[in-house]
């Protein structure tokens, strides 16, 4: 029976089932030598092995890979098409010009794209809980988080990152920014910090699925919804909403705050200037909290027994 939860609210996962039919079940990561390492190293190694396995299985169907990557690229580019359509009728949105919005768009697409590429498959956890296949992961000698994160690793999601890079390059080529050393330094900092923040959202969303298995779609509101929100300037949104995504779910640190610094625009809220540089720190904090949530979720897991 088809899962009605299978398709995202905006169908971003229409390409999700590609490998379902062709790829073999994941092979357990080899156990030897794992015991001697630390847990994070174990996790990274397991992640690398499982992701590599999925990569090889993807590359067995090269034409399909190329098509789905292009599809991913085109599907995610649709958001930018919407912005271009808007700018066919106006010169500025919320006081921001097209290149400035393209700057925001490119940054969030890269951050979110990297997180989605790395651990985007985690939103399938609810399905694993429901059909009982999570039990298989629990008995393997590798951290469950790494296994779930690497599950169905899909390189085609590079499509979104590539698309974000192209839009960012366009943006950087079309406006004049007085580049200073801190601004240049801020560029990689915010992209990585932003990716960490989105990773935390994915992990927290997966932890929530231990509780509400069928409700996996809730996290789409924060992942896909979050990146959609960040594509537009903060001046567009209600103040309470901006406060919420600054202090409660700190998505504003992905691009709004740092980009305001680079563009020399006023911050969305009256915050000190250095908050623009806080993205990596916020990212680490979010990941720690999400990690805790994951532990709680995993501890509360009860197998369906089937």
């Amino acid at each position: 029976m088809a899962e009605i939860t299978g398709a995202g609210p905006h169908g971003r996962r229409t390409d999700e089932e590609t490998e379902a039919a062709v790829a073999p079940a994941p092979v357990p990561a080899p156990a030897p030598a794992l015991a001697s390492r630390s847990r994070p190293a174990d996790g990274l190694r397991a992640y690398r092995l499982i992701a590599g396995m999925w990569l090889r299985s993807t590359m067995a169907y090269r034409a399909s890979f190329i098509m789905t990557t292009f599809g991913n690229f085109a599907a995610t580019a649709l958001d930018f098409v919407a912005i271009l359509l808007m700018f066919s009728r106006v010169d500025a949105l919320g006081g921001y010009t097209l290149p400035e919005i393209a700057f925001l768009y490119g940054l969030t697409s890269i951050s979110f794209g990297l997180a989605d590429l790395a651990i985007g498959s985690m939103d399938r956890l609810g399905r694993r809980v429901r059909d009982g296949t999570l039990d298989t992961l629990l008995v393997r000698p590798a951290p469950v988080l790494a296994q779930v994160a690497a599950d169905r690793f899909a390189l085609r999601r590079l499509g979104r990152v590539v698309q974000g890079v192209l839009v960012l390059v366009y943006a950087l080529g079309s406006f004049d920014v007085h580049w200073t050393a801190p601004k240049v330094l801020l560029m990689p900092l915010m992209m990585l910090g932003g990716a960490a923040i989105f990773c935390a959202v994915f992990v927290a969303g997966a932890a929530f699925q231990f509780v509400a298995q069928d409700a996996s779609e809730v996290q789409n509101a924060f992942t896909y919804g979050g990146t959609t929100l960040l594509q537009y300037p903060p001046t567009v949104f209600a103040r309470e909403l901006v406060r919420g995504v600054t202090f409660v779910l700190p998505l504003a640190f992905v691009n709004w705050l740092p980009a305001s610094y680079v563009l020399g625009r006023p911050y969305p809220l009256a915050l000190p200037w250095w908050t623009a540089f806080a993205s990596p720190l916020v990212g680490v904090g979010c990941c720690a909290l999400a990690g805790l949530a994951w532990r709680v979720g995993l501890r509360s897991y009860r197998s369906t027994g089937s």
Binding site: G11, T68, A82, V90, V218
Partner: protein, 266 residues
């Protein structure tokens, strides 16, 4: 059992099946509401700069957003209709069972999809729409006739939507893995139905082209009836013509598929 009763039972089954997943429905309602919230603010920013863009005022633009969120899963604009399951059955060969049933393949799946769509409209569509109407300035008609005309355009939209997706699903008879086609269909549907932006905001010739395509029957046509922008009768004729054309094409393709294609075994 009369044929009508059979398909009514299939439709009721489709409705009940989707009604089973309550948590998933609640999650969908939440997500659609959040997306609606984000879109409303971007639309309002747009309409702040150009107050009468596309002939809509601010309240009408807001109404359009929430209608889009209500219709997204109802009309499976973002995927998730019965076509996924139909394609899977074609791929695995289970379609053979469907073909020897004493029921018509197209009507059977149409009934199942209408049941699904009705549930999605009631279960997933209404709450975000009401939320939008409560918290944002919306332009809802006071004339019950306009509401009735709008409610007439919704089933027509469902028929056109199924007509498109049935064609997409049948491609699996020839292609086996229909992922690529589904993705293309999704892209076209999302762009041409007005989910991105109302079609009357599209510039120049592009606007005229997308308004003539079948996808404009899905969201734009019912929205224009609700917002008093289009004559109901003309809208019905437009939607009806596309529904007939698409369903007829589906029938042709179906007979070609069942005659020529060897069902997957094993």
């Amino acid at each position: 059992m009369g044929a009508g009763r059979l398909y009514a039972a299939v439709a009721a089954g489709g409705f009940r099946r989707y009604a089973t997943y309550r948590a998933a429905t609640a999650a969908g309602v939440f997500t659609n509401t959040v997306f609606g919230l984000i879109l409303v603010y971007t639309y309002l920013a747009l309409w702040d700069v150009r107050p009468h863009l596309g002939g809509y005022d601010r309240a009408q633009a807001v109404t359009y957003v929430w209608l889009g969120q209500a219709f997204l899963s109802t009309l499976a604009i973002g995927g998730g209709g019965v076509e996924d399951e139909l394609m899977e059955r074609i791929r695995t060969g289970d379609i053979a069972i469907d073909l020897y049933r004493p029921a018509d393949l197209q009507l059977w799946w149409l009934a199942a999809d209408l049941g699904r769509a009705m549930f999605q409209l009631v279960g997933r569509g209404i709450v975000p729409f009401v939320f939008g109407a409560l918290f944002f300035p919306v332009a809802l008609p006071t004339d019950p006739l306009t509401w009735a005309a709008f409610l007439g355009a919704v089933p027509m939209a469902m028929l056109v939507s199924f007509g498109i997706r049935f064609l997409v699903a049948l491609s699996a008879f020839w292609l086996m893995d229909g992922t690529g086609v589904v993705q293309m269909a999704w892209l076209a549907g999302y762009f041409c139905s007005g989910m991105l932006l109302p079609l009357n905001v599209f510039p120049g010739a592009l606007g005229e082209v997308v308004r003539a395509l079948p996808w404009s029957s899905l969201l734009q046509a019912p929205a224009d009836v609700l917002l008093g922008h289009a004559d109901a009768l003309n809208t019905y004729v437009f939607q009806g013509a596309w529904a007939v054309a698409l369903l007829a094409a589906g029938r042709l393709l179906q007979s070609a598929a069942t005659r020529r294609v060897v069902v997957q075994g094993g």
